[in-house]
């Protein structure tokens, strides 16, 4: 039966040109099924090779001794030693604390200021596109340059901020020499850098709100505060959540600003996790130990991201 003649359910060979000796090996239906994946190969390939593989390599490093100060030990398997050492090192706990204060502090400030401004600026309907243009600029500026701009402003002797302070009759502050003021100054810079993003997103969301609920509320005699709490806030929830989680994820990993402004000091007052990892790896050259810390940071970051993605999917 199967002597080469076409049977009804056999995949048909694609017609080939006269004289051609090649024959399609892949059936059309298989080609169709595979096609979506073929289109994804460049992106997925790049991600697997250049992100996923380094992550695994990093995990590998974290279980080995890889201290460039002790070349003889490089590559020796040490199990969980790097991780256990983390728990014993005081700098780790300090940096964890700083990272938490930094992340939640800046995000809270950005949110409160940004939300407040969005609510107030919502009234200016005709200036809408000017405001949006203005908002998009600060967050796109090169962080290193932002840090330099602000380092100049915070400079103790000739910085503009101390000049303003002295005009008000107060004593100028050496911002980066004391732990509290250093953290405050760096956080202020970060808030300046990112609040406009909050304004941008929340303003757009506010302007997309429908009028009807407010009309109904007005007719029912509801006051402004009530309208805000029971209409505005619930309707804005998706935007608020996007903003909060987005900012949290990016504040958590901030590096450029802090590195250029303070390098992690004074006395580790601004030593967030990423600054600590960088310092361990490229100042002290303890690559195994740094990799362990990087994985701890990754796990915390994944936890935050899972919350983000869950919330996003729920609001779809």
């Amino acid at each position: 039966m199967t002597d080469g003649a076409l049977q009804p359910n056999m995949p048909r060979p694609t017609p080939t040109s006269v004289g051609s000796t090649t024959r399609r090996v892949i059936s059309p239906s298989l080609a169709r099924a595979v096609q979506p994946y073929v289109w994804l190969v460049p992106t997925v390939g790049i991600l697997l090779l250049l992100l996923f593989y380094p992550l695994l390599y990093s995990l590998y490093l974290s279980f080995h001794s890889w201290d460039l100060n002790r070349p003889a030990e490089i590559g020796r398997f040490v199990g969980l030693n790097n991780y256990l050492r983390l728990l014993r090192v005081e700098e780790f706990w300090e940096s964890l604390k700083v990272t938490l204060v930094w992340t939640f502090g800046s995000v809270l400030a950005e949110f409160v200021i940004g939300f407040g401004m969005a609510l107030i600026l919502d009234k200016l309907v005709r200036l809408k596109s000017f405001i949006r243009t203005l908002c998009i600029l600060p967050m796109l500026l090169t962080p290193v340059v932002v840090a330099l701009m602000w380092k100049f402003l915070w400079a103790p002797k000739f910085g503009f901020i101390n000049y303003l302070i002295s005009v008000l009759g107060l004593a100028p502050i050496d911002w980066f020499s004391q732990p509290l003021t250093a953290l405050g100054a760096v956080m202020t810079t970060e808030v300046w850098h990112n609040t406009s993003f909050v304004v941008l997103v929340l303003l757009a969301a506010l302007q997309a709100l429908p009028d009807e609920p407010y009309e109904a509320a007005r007719i029912d005699g509801a006051g402004k505060v009530q309208a805000f709490l029971y209409i505005t806030v619930p309707l804005l929830m998706p935007a608020i959540l996007v903003v909060l989680i987005f900012r949290t994820i990016f504040a958590f990993r901030a590096f450029d600003l802090i590195w250029v402004l303070t390098g992690g000091g004074p006395v580790n007052a601004t030593l967030t996790l990423s600054v600590y990892i960088y310092r361990l790896a490229f100042r002290y050259w303890e690559l195994g130990f740094a990799s362990a810390l990087a994985w701890v940071m990754l796990i915390i970051s994944m936890a935050i991201s899972i919350v983000y993605l869950m919330v996003l999917r729920r609001s779809d």
Partner: protein
């Protein structure tokens, strides 16, 4: 009756006054917002056209004869032009690669209805959630082993890896916004998906491509950490150059201002060119419709 005349505001006087003062407050807040947003960059620019003595003067000098001395210094101090070119080339290559890979992936996720589209889309987004600092050490070792330290290629590869997810996500959003029948019509007329992609979708996506390109370009232009780690002298990019100013004794702030201004100019120009689409891309996730 002249219907073009503005309607007379017949609200009670108290309500009108309240609305007016609300508007006034809003304009005041806007003024403060504008000033606070613009001032640091403006101050940096003003400093860049001062002499270095003027830059240090307290109280700050407002009226002075501008000079381009700082800009000359910046170019003389080190091969700034070469580093500027490095940033340009690396950002350009990264953008080209990211857009290509991202557009193909976005087309696949958006147009083909296949099992696994959701999972793969999710995975592409998820892997981008990890902090870049987690890959810095293995990247450094790998590039060292491949002898790619201080080359353009190293940074291009790294930046593409970090941008391709975002590019895919952004472009998918833009493709999703197009009418669903477009590709189907093309297929019925006998073109392949590749032709539909090149001749139907891509032309319509021009604004989306432009916005994604600018985003990717800026992200690549701005990166500091990987540039610090993976370059030494030849392939240095601008953020690394800028950071180098602060480790010296007696920083010459007018020079810093000049360098900073030069680094920020492309970012500002590009952002302003496509700002409408950038805004749309940024707010899409939060605002429905």
């Amino acid at each position: 009756m002249n219907t073009l005349a503005t309607k007379k505001d017949t609200r009670p006087r108290g309500v009108r006054m309240a609305a007016l003062s609300e508007n006034l407050l809003a304009k005041l807040v806007l003024l403060v917002f504008v000033l606070v947003t613009i001032f640091p960059a403006l101050w940096m620019f003003l400093t860049s056209i001062k002499t270095h003595l003027q830059a240090f003067t307290v109280p700050p000098v407002w009226i002075f004869a501008p000079t381009l001395q700082a800009y000359f210094n910046v170019f003389q101090r080190e091969p700034f032009a070469r580093f500027f070119a490095n940033s340009l080339v690396i950002a350009f290559a990264t953008t080209a690669l990211s857009l290509t890979a991202g557009a193909l992936a976005a087309y696949s996720l958006s147009v083909f209805r296949f099992r696994g589209a959701n999972v793969i889309g999710f995975a592409i987004l998820a892997i981008r959630m990890m902090p870049p600092v987690s890959t810095v050490v293995p990247m450094y070792l790998t590039m060292k082993q491949l002898n790619l330290i201080d080359t353009h290629l190293a940074l291009i590869l790294v930046y593409t890896a970090f941008n391709v997810s975002f590019a895919t996500w952004l472009l998918k959003g833009f493709i999703d916004a197009l009418p669903k029948d477009l590709v189907d019509c093309g297929l019925v007329d006998g073109c392949t998906h590749l032709q539909a992609f090149l001749r139907i979708i891509m032309p319509l996506m021009a604004p989306g491509l432009a916005a994604t390109a600018v985003f990717t370009y800026i992200l690549s232009w701005n990166d500091f950490m990987f540039a610090m780690v993976l370059t030494t002298t030849q392939a240095k990019t601008l953020p690394v150059v800028a950071s180098g100013y602060i480790t010296e004794e007696g920083v010459l702030w007018n020079n810093v201002g000049a360098a900073g201004t030069l680094i920020l100019l492309p970012v500002i120009v590009f952002s302003l060119l496509v700002q409408k689409h950038l805004v749309r891309g940024m707010t899409a996730g939060a605002v429905k419709g």
